[in-house]
């Protein structure tokens, strides 16, 4: 009888310890999760801000106005090559 009570008491104590351990693990996990979530949010926020900046600087509207400010002008004409021209002549043909 005493042996049974002793075993049950030991089991109860072990379960209690396990409960405390698990609760503690979950609580630590929760804190960590909260920290990670905040970190993710911060990184996402930073990324979004950087993306907006990048789009602002790479828009054609902005590039064109900056180019004009810097003195670039539209070329009024373009040259086309109407017939094929040789750009290199083989040594055999030159002889």
């Amino acid at each position: 009888m005493l042996k049974t009570i002793f075993i049950l008491t030991i089991i109860a104590i072990l379960l209690q310890v396990a409960n405390v351990f698990l609760s503690n693990t979950i609580a630590s996990g929760s804190v960590e999760a909260a920290l990670l979530t905040t970190k993710i949010e911060k990184v996402e926020e930073k990324n979004a801000i950087i993306k907006t900046e990048l789009l602002k600087y790479s828009s054609l509207t902005r590039l064109a106005s900056r180019a004009a400010e810097m003195g670039f002008v539209d070329s009024k004409k373009f040259i086309t090559v109407n017939s094929p021209l040789s750009v290199a002549v083989s040594s055999q043909n030159t002889q």
Binding site: I26, A34, T52, S58, N82
Partner: protein, 561 residues
């Protein structure tokens, strides 16, 4: 103690307990029925939390994947007036930092509330500056705003994001309107059980996934769009016009490469513009096409073999009388015995009446139907309209329709019809969205769709040559692009004003495609009520050729000769 006294005590105690029960029952009723919802909410708020994750609205990207509409972060600045000790000092500091009137801030802070809004849409830089002030009781709430990196580029086509009657975001006009349900997505919900210290309990989280909106990739070529808008704005200013439009299609597929209209609006500050400026003139405005319409009539007559390029006009020696009306040429010059090639080259109205009479009303109407006149093109933007193709035409109706008066089309209908001549005779369904990306990254690709065959391929070839001749020898030859065979036709349509045509108020236009031997781009330029010259050859044509030059350079199209 007598029995009576005992009984009365028992009754008294019974009543006392009955009263207690009644009290408990009524209190339970109060808690469990009357206050049930309130207590439930309170308990949930103490032990759990519902986090709403806002769905990101989908982006609108050009063909080079640059967003024309995207989302950006901004901040709402709020304050707790109860924590602001020196409200005047607060107001002065915030006012100076945010360039706001301190009196406005002070008035907000003087309210007997725990939360007041100070300013919306703070930029990240402004947030940093306010943060640096270190004011107590000040906080930020992250917001998402629609952002248009190319400002008003293709504004009519894109539309804008506004608020509906319930205060929620909703897309209006253009693609924001047409694809609203696909782009808006669905907000996600996260139910988190919290521990005593308000940290989330990780193994007890229930989640309704956020469905971010779908992004759409357009057929629009950003460079071509940019040049189209630039040249159009320059042209409208130069010719002192009320406005104008340019629409360019990929000849083979019907993809919209550019769609520009001026005056336009700023989609970010759409509320600063008149409501009438939101609609896209390219799909929502009807106009009488004038001489650009002649190419459709001539192509139809060639296809029916009622004429050949060499057929001589039998009624081109002077003004033509139809049902009591006199029909003249635009410049009052007449070419007796002109061939059909010359009729198109001179944009001769009397020659077109001759063609109309050869075809008859039935065949003409039938061909125009095939060209898509009188029916919507089915393009995927909001607000497309169509003019009516009447069932009954009198003799004068037929005569005027042959030179594009007395019939109305949208710019898109006309360019799409001419595109059928350019691509070998097939009417295509124009489209703007070529790919939709779902929230999980799946890509849905749109394919080009042929509506019907309109002309025989041989007719298309002949018509192309006639249109090339029109550019090489017609009114607009002075402005053509050297070394490239471009097919085109000018138009100078009179505008009906108070029941009659005002000869000095016109819509000048030029429609064409290039390079003529293997067309890649079909384009229409409209100039609305130009003042310096009323003619298409002197206004719309130069704009057309300057954009054509830009496109040729951008697409690296080799010269024709």
């Amino acid at each position: 103690m007598s029995d009576k006294a005992v009984k009365s005590r028992i009754v008294l105690i019974a009543f006392f307990f009955a009263f207690l029960y009644l009290l408990i029952i009524s209190k339970l009723f109060h808690w469990q029925v009357v206050k049930a919802e309130e207590l439930k909410t309170l308990s949930e708020s103490q032990s759990s939390e519902e986090l709403i994750t806002e769905a990101r609205r989908g982006e609108i990207l050009t063909s080079d994947e640059f967003p024309l509409a995207t989302n950006k972060i901004s901040y709402l600045l709020y304050a707790n007036p109860k924590l602001a000790e020196d409200k005047e000092d607060y107001a002065m500091l915030l006012g100076k930092t945010l360039e706001m009137d301190p009196a406005t801030i002070s008035a907000r802070l003087s309210q007997d509330l725990f939360w007041v809004k100070i300013k919306e849409r703070l930029t990240p830089d402004e947030k940093v500056k306010v943060d640096a002030l270190g004011l107590e009781g000040v906080g930020f709430q992250e917001q998402t705003d629609r952002y248009y990196p190319e400002a008003s580029m293709a504004a009519h086509l894109i539309g804008f994001l506004g608020k509906n009657n319930d205060g929620y975001d909703q897309g209006f006009f253009g693609l924001e309107g047409f694809y609203n349900s696909q782009m808006q997505g669905r907000d996600g919900r996260l139910y988190v059980v919290k521990d005593a210290l308000s940290n989330p309990v990780v193994n007890d989280i229930r989640e309704e996934k956020t469905l971010h909106g779908r992004s759409i990739k357009l057929t629009l070529n950003r460079t071509i769009q940019f040049f189209a808008e630039k040249r159009l704005k320059e042209g409208v200013l130069k010719y002192e016009a009320d406005g104008g439009s340019i629409i360019a299609l990929d000849t083979k597929t019907g993809k919209v490469l550019a769609s520009a209209s001026v005056p336009n609006f700023d989609p970010t500050n759409y509320y600063d513009f008149l409501h009438t400026s939101y609609k896209d003139p390219v799909v929502s405005d009807l106009y009488e096409p004038g001489s650009t319409f002649k190419v459709l009539i001539m192509a139809s007559a060639l296809d029916l073999k009622k004429i050949t390029p060499e057929t001589k006009c039998a009624s081109c020696d002077g003004p033509v009388q139809v049902s009591g009306y006199t029909i003249k040429t635009w410049n009052n010059k007449y070419y007796p015995g002109a061939t059909m090639k010359e009729v198109l080259q001179h944009s001769d109205n009397t020659g077109m009446v001759f063609i109309g009479q050869k075809m008859g009303a039935g065949s003409t109407r039938e061909y125009l139907k095939r060209f898509g006149i009188g029916e919507k093109t089915g393009i995927d933007v909001q607000g497309e309209v169509t003019g009516e193709l009447r069932d009954f035409w009198s003799e004068i109706d037929l005569a005027t329709i042959t030179f594009g008066q007395g019939i109305s089309v949208t710019p898109l209908q006309l360019v799409n019809a001419v595109n059928a001549i350019a691509n070998g005779g097939t009417l295509m369904k124009p489209y703007v969205v070529e790919e939709i990306t779902t929230h999980d990254g799946q890509k849905i690709t749109m394919k080009s769709k042929a509506v019907r065959r309109v002309l025989k391929e041989s007719t298309s070839k002949v018509m192309k040559e006639l249109m090339v001749n029109n550019v090489e020898a017609g009114e607009s030859q002075w402005t053509k692009v050297e070394s490239y065979r471009i097919a085109g036709k000018t138009g100078t349509a009179q505008v009906p004003v108070a029941g009659h045509y005002d000869p000095n108020v016109t819509i000048a236009s030029f429609v064409g495609f290039f390079p003529a031997d293997d067309p890649q781009v079909t384009m229409l330029v409209l100039v609305n009520k130009p003042k310096t010259s009323i003619y298409g050859s002197e206004t719309a044509a130069p704009i057309f050729f300057s954009v054509a030059k830009d496109i040729i350079q951008h697409l690296e199209i080799p010269p024709s000769y």
